[in-house]
Chain length 195, copies 4
DNA sequence: AATGAATGAGGTTTCATTCAT
DNA sequence: TATGAATGAAACCTCATTCAT
């Protein structure tokens, strides 16, 4: 019983493989093998290697896609005319990030804390902290944020966001989590406080 | 009888294996195999399994040891008589944690973000966030910290500490990092600010 | 229609494929794959199989072509009128063979000592030994060569030629090699010696 | 149904694997895979890699063993007291080599004309030509052989021996082959002929 | 208590050949 | 006649774990 061939446009086939991998890794990051991916995608083993030279290349493609997707959904917040409400913008970003992260499930560790992540670090310019730092700087210029170190504070707040998302995933009430994060960010950046 | 057997007190043997594993994992978490550990420890392969039923059991033992060690070195801050300076205590803990984390090198991801970590989550009561939450509660009762949600805030601040340590490891100046973290914690917990 | 199709006269296409294969195998007999050949020939993978049913068929075609080419360039030595100088004729053939063999590079083993060679032996009538044996017989009839067993001696002298070519390829001085071969052949066939 | 373990002394296990490989390669040099060898040797796949890092390492070990074996069976020819009969000694070596080569079957090409052979050439000092050249030199000093170039002539005569063995394997009568080779060697080396 | 040879499931990657277009 | 995406049977190699000694 031969499997009938499904001839696809290469771009489509690639998409299917990526999608299949994403679906599986979400569920159980470990234990996903090339074999599983092609089975899920309805392709043959060799087909995988037509599109990705190694397993890590697939992961890299997946990571890039996630970045693209996040950037598409949480677009540059500015573009406004009236004085921007920076704290609100920040809160918006936090919500978007938490939602995105919650939705990532198993992908996160597989892409950001695996051997893969160690071997292929995220390029500096991608990733949330850079965006967040830019936002802090802009807010500071507008007088909406206090005089904190933008880059390091951005990294730490981003880590806090990430942790908040984890907490939500582990069962904490999402409103509590969001409120606590809002409080933390508000306090961390308010211009009304100078220690 | 090629290699003479080294008969050891079981506790010593176990310690040697753990120490060997720690040394190797620090260096390169992936790529460490049972074989390497026993070679480093001067034992035979089978001996490993007299002390650890599986590889993950070794990791768990290692994680526990790290917790013990951290708790031993960063002792409960209280025990004092005069009014405690809570912010200072917190800063002390942060410094201790950063130092500890910096010194962990490859251990961190191997123990906290690997497949192992997913399969065997850290027991609630161990780990920094629990201690930190306790500290926040105590500080709040003493009027030294503002009215934030203790557990969630503890988690987020802990994540920030962790990120700070990462930043230091990646080359950021340790004083800058510590200062930024102090600022963040101070702002996040100060009682003088109510949004 | 990405690549424009190159419609060729079948004979031309076949020639191109053969030439491409020859070029590549010369360089590195192992490691040459169908994929490489079609790339080198500017054709698509499937096209290969329109001209050669299997990879071994290509090799066989290549081997035949080499035989043809050798026979064309080292033409039947006779055609003469005066008494033929048989030893000189033999030396001429040896020189031609060495030159040819030197020029074959990686082709030799790929065509004569590979799994392919085992599965498809050279037809008796092709190949140097047969020609050489004929020459020895003719020379014997003319009284120019001694009474040695023509077929076996031809095989062995041919092997010696081949070895001489190898020696030259490995860096021995071509004149030394040729001289040693001439001496061997002269001694092996001289009529002036009967043990 | 587990296969019961056969625990062997490492040297014995290695011998068994080599012997199994030799048996199979003799029969059909291509088509022999690690899997076949371990099956023939009654071992598990992983066991192979305990003894040979790669397939080519096995082939190299096999080649070395063959050399050893040949040298053991065709010992240094000298050791004599009276004037040595050099031609007879040479004929003896030729017979030994033919016998050995005939007995090698599929091993020859696998070890001397495969990709393996190209990647790991025979060390100069092993192999027949070196021994043969030494013999020619000794014979020349004793006045038993004519003034031919020893090294190149040795190579060519060795190739002739090899071809003679091939002829015998292909069905030529062994006595004819031996006689033709004797004649060739006698003529090639006789001191009574100077062209 | 200790050893280290042996196991074998698991995973990756390659490439001749097929076949839908 | 030509294309090139797709196939899937090999083959290789690794390493946690077992077990006979």
């Amino acid at each position: 019983m031969r499997t009938p061939r499904r001839r696809l446009d290469p771009a489509d086939r690639r998409r299917e493989l990526l999608a299949a991998a994403e679906r599986l890794i979400r569920r159980r990051a470990d234990q996903v093998r090339v074999e599983d991916v092609v089975a899920e995608a309805g392709a043959a083993k060799g087909t995988f290697y037509l599109y990705f030279a190694t397993w890590d290349d697939l992961l890299e493609a997946l990571r890039n896609e996630l970045f693209d997707r996040f950037e598409a959904q949480a677009p540059e917040p500015v573009e406004s005319l009236d004085p921007i409400d920076w704290p609100a913008t920040l809160r918006g970003m936090a919500r978007a990030y938490i939602a995105f992260n919650l939705e990532m499930e198993g992908l996160h560790d597989a892409l950001f804390h695996s051997d893969f992540a160690r071997n292929r670090p995220v390029p500096r310019h991608r990733g949330g902290p850079a965006r967040l730092a830019a936002m802090i700087r802009a807010g500071q210029e507008a007088g909406a944020f206090g005089p904190v170190a933008p880059d390091l504070t951005a990294r730490m707040i981003f880590a806090a966001m990430h942790e908040a998302a984890d907490a939500a995933r582990e069962g904490e009430d999402l409103r509590d989590v969001t409120a606590a994060l809002d409080t933390l960010m508000n306090r961390a950046l308010t211009p009304e406080f100078a220690p």
